[in-house]
Amino acid sequence: MAYGDKVIDHFEHPRNVGSLDKNDEHVGTGIVGAPECGDVMKLQIQVDENERIVDAKFKTFGCGSAIASSSLATEWVKGKTLDEALEIQNTEIVKELALPPVKIHCSVLAEDAIRAAITDVKRKLHKSDGVPGAATEAVK
């Protein structure tokens, strides 16, 4: 299968590869996917006092499209507030990277990773407020 130029660009020059301190109060971590399924994404975000995302990092095990989707996701969340970041849709990733139908699940996973990271950081930030019901991250 031939890849789109943007997928190749992100694959060859992935943005924001790395890890943030997952124990930091202002860092949210989302890990989604499973090794048996052939893709696992870890996406981390760091927020300031105003709940604006000031940094984002990712690591991904998966095909080129999965790597590109998560790389793009880190670019897009940076500078957004948590609520703005929650509005990112997988379909926008599909469009930006010109993903073919068999690769749509990569974009879904990237959206899930963003949501999981946001949920995690919100849980941490509001722990002291006692906000109930926040989902926990996938990995224990």
Binding site: V17, C37, F61, V139, K140
Partner: protein
């Protein structure tokens, strides 16, 4: 851009000597081998009988025992469906195994829906069938055993001689899909007790669309009902005007393998081992799929833990290989062959098949080693699994959100 072809178990480059042999049969000696009334026909007939001899010689068969087909898919279909149709009144049981090529599995499944019972034997961690288990599976109702010679994904070579003997003892017809062994492993159908053997030209530097089926003529005489009916060519087992240039190409390709039989398998194994040793020397957590020693000289199948196969291939896209990863298949399922070995799904997703040929060089292999090592390292730096493993997390204990 420089390109290196290491996917020779999928298909091979036509050897220029094969092409040279074929060329006159397109525009000069283009007769129909069945035309008995003129020289064009005689020349074609002569070329066909030479091709038959060349194929027969490589496997210790007689030339009358070779039937030309469009390839091994067709040969397998004639062997399996043809034996079932011919001997179906004697018994309804067929034995095969789980890592066969689809061109064996699917005809068997087709027969299963038509009143036959098929046993799919399991394989061990190395891809080998257990001959005792095969013997135990045979009943008075068993008419056919079909076990491949060498596996196309993992290279494992089955104990063909032992299986042949077991079949002889019970009077069961023995078919082997020898596509990946033909021309690479010394084969003698009489010594090994093979009754039917499928092979294909395009895996041995011949053209695509031509293959053969060996059908034993004595001790015992084996017969197959045809799958394609028509003018009664090929002893009635495969009708259709013979593909003369293809047959010439298959014959010449087989002859070249025969000429190099003392040196070529060893030099392929040397390239394969150079690749393996070079990779193992520089990377940890790489696993060999298939049997360590009982394997085809051309095949190296490796799983690179923590990185996914398709991304690896994208990382060294100037090198043509294939992967057992789901992402490369239409089904989104990882390789059923690797699954059958008990290789975990995550390592199946991380597998790459490298397969060498007479046209690869040591210099190419060294370049491939370098590219593979650098790509695996780069992608491991990108892999959350690698990071977790380094931190001492047991990946099996993690509760993943499967999707």
């Amino acid at each position: 851009m420089r390109r290196i072809y290491l996917d020779n178990n999928a298909t091979t480059r036509v050897d220029p000597r094969v092409l040279d042999a074929m060329l006159p049969y397109f525009c000069e000696q283009y007769g129909n081998a069945a035309s008995r009334s003129h020289a064009f026909g005689w020349e074609a007939e002569e070329a066909v009988s030479r091709g038959r001899e060349q194929v027969a010689r490589l496997i210790g068969a007689g030339e009358k025992e070779i039937i030309f087909t469009s390839g091994a898919t067709e040969s397998n279909n004639i062997a399996i469906k043809g034996v079932a149709a011919m001997y179906g009144d004697r018994g309804k049981h067929i034995i095969t195994q789980v890592t066969e090529h689809k061109a064996v599995i699917d005809p068997c499944k087709w027969l299963e829906q038509r009143g036959f019972r098929v046993t799919f034997l399991p394989v061990d961690r190395n891809g080998l069938v257990d001959v005792e288990q095969l013997k135990d599976a045979m009943t008075d109702d068993t008419i056919l055993v079909s076990i491949m010679y060498a596996n196309n994904e993992i290279g494992t070579i089955q104990p063909i001689g032992e299986i042949g003997r077991a079949c002889k003892e019970r009077g069961v017809v023995f078919h082997t899909d020898a596509v990946q062994a033909f021309g690479k492993v010394p084969i003698d159908v009489n010594e090994l007790g093979i009754d039917l053997l499928s092979c294909s030209a395009h895996k041995i530097h011949g053209p695509k669309g031509i293959g053969a089926l060996y059908v034993r003529r004595k001790n015992p005489r084996v017969r197959c009902e045809p799958v394609i009916h028509g003018g009664g060519h090929e002893r009635g087992m495969r009708s259709g005007t013979l593909n003369v240039p293809g047959i010439v190409g298959l014959g010449r390709a087989a002859e070249l393998c025969g000429e190099h039989r003392d040196t070529e398998p060893a030099s392929l194994a040397k390239l394969r081992d150079r690749l393996k040793d070079g990779i193992f020397a520089q990377l940890d957590e790489v696993y060999l799929n298939g049997h360590e020693t009982q394997r085809s000289a051309s095949n190296l199948n490796l799983s690179f833990a923590y990185v996914e196969g398709e991304s690896l291939m994208m990382g060294f896209k100037d090198i043509a290989v294939s992967s057992g990863s789901a992402c490369t298949s239409a089904s989104l399922e990882p390789s059923y062959v690797l699954k059958a070995l008990g290789v975990g799904d995550e390592l199946a997703h991380s597998s790459i098949r490298f397969s060498v040929s007479r046209f690869n060089t040591e210099e190419e292999i060294d370049y491939v080693i370098e590219r593979v090592v650098e790509t695996v390292r780069r992608l491991r730096e990108l892999s959350p699994l690698y990071e977790m493993a380094r931190e001492g997390v047991d990946l099996k204990s993690v509760q993943w959100s499967a999707h």
